[in-house]
Amino acid sequence: MAIIHDTFSAVFRSVVNPSPCLEKLDRLGWVTAIAGVNHGVRLGIRTTHESLLGPIASRLPPRWRSSSPTNACVDRLYSLVGGGPDPRYPHIRRFHLAYAGARLLCRSLYLDEVLDAFESDLHFFIAQSARLALFVHAGVVGWHGTAIVIPGRTLVGKTTLVAALVKAGATYYSDEYAVFQADGCVRPYPKALSFRNEGSRPTRFSPEELGATIGRKPLRVGLVVVTKFRSGACWRPVTVSPGRAALHLLANTVCARTRPSAALAMFAQAATNARTLRGIRGEAYAAAASILEEARKGHRVLDATTNDAPFVEGR
């Protein structure tokens, strides 16, 4: 826990673990600070340049509730140092820096890289620290009043499938986190969609750019889709049991090791009322049409692969 003193100097003091590194950081010329709460996690962000506030605001998590940064008590304080050309020495470019507490997150000449590091750490910290919800690494869309949850690790094609589902008429909830409530329902976490390729930096699109309707209400889970992309594959899913579905969700849960009881209870409730499909998919648009069709159906099919090991994607 930390406290931000005074809006303009935004001096940060670590209450729990004061360290010389933090004191050094505190001495930098902080110009402005913002504070807010997200999923019960209190966050503070200070910066050396007022012009950074705009780019920072675009990276804040969904449902960010601003609060006054003056003497704010925060669980984590981010410090962003602006770089770029030095007015006194035009041939010198300074690094942009991002810190989480006293830890250096990123140092780069490119602001986008630093903001990417800041954003991913921010989401990660919220996902780890949220007490009233469980974050599962999954894409989520809404369809006819229920949620379609697509758990999976990086590069299995979650975002592409979510985008295809949204273009086919589904409501956008998230491309990265399914936020489960205690009652097993999923809340929206509509961050910008981040398309990743193995060999390049992620490309970001706001949901509005894709023409997406953003979901507002928590939805109960209607369908869980466990899949990954393989070029040329045909989408022929099998239905898996609720217990296996809960394992798939748990395998992608941020706090699986620290809050197993809560996770099992939430997923048991969610999976019992949902169907779960598992299979390899090819092109997202073909799979999306089939998934939406499956989501309409309510019947269960006996899993023919009960004795198989669960399908957990490696990285």
Binding site: E113, D116, S120, E198, P242, G243, L247, T253, V254, P260
Partner: protein
């Protein structure tokens, strides 16, 4: 008379489902999903119930043949998942049969294989492993790099 071993009672969290049982092993960070047959055997692992009684339970509740080999199959799987306090002490004739065997039991039971005792297991991820990992040029200050990439470390923390 063969007695079922005792099931673990400490260091686990259980969650009932209509047809299955979820168990989280707090010591090993593993989650197990027991199907109905495995769950029935596990619940009766009390140090008193005999394998014959357990086989009769499987027969009564699931319609499986009243065959002790099914109980041993369940015990094998439960022991492998470390959900029992001690290893099941198998009498030697059954042991040799069982060794030849899981596949043979499956063959003999034919289409009932779906009902056979099954335990699925996953290793619960650490917080960082449950999240996206960074790709080329991405920051690895808080997230791991994608497989095959390495983190440059301080001060840049980039995946290359």
């Amino acid at each position: 008379m063969n007695i079922l071993p005792r099931a673990r009672e400490t260091g686990i969290v259980t969650q009932e489902l209509p047809e299955e049982l979820l168990i989280f092993d707090l010591d090993r960070h593993k989650a197990h999903c027991l199907n109905r047959a495995a769950a029935i055997v596990w619940r009766h692992c009390d140090g008193h119930t005999t394998t014959a009684e357990a086989a009769a339970l499987l027969h009564n509740e699931l319609g499986l043949p009243s065959d002790e080999r099914l109980v041993w199959l369940a015990l094998d799987r439960l022991a492998r998942a470390r959900l029992l306090q001690e290893q099941p002490a198998r009498p030697s004739p059954v042991m040799s049969e069982s060794n030849e065997s899981r596949r043979q039991v499956l063959k003999q039971l034919g289409r009932l294989t779906v009902l056979l005792p099954a335990v699925a297991t996953i290793l619960a991820p650490t917080a960082a492993h449950a999240l996206s990992c960074s790709t080329v040029g991405g920051s690895c200050a808080s997230l791991p790099c994608y497989v095959g990439l390495t983190c440059t470390g301080p001060p840049l923390f980039l995946c290359v």
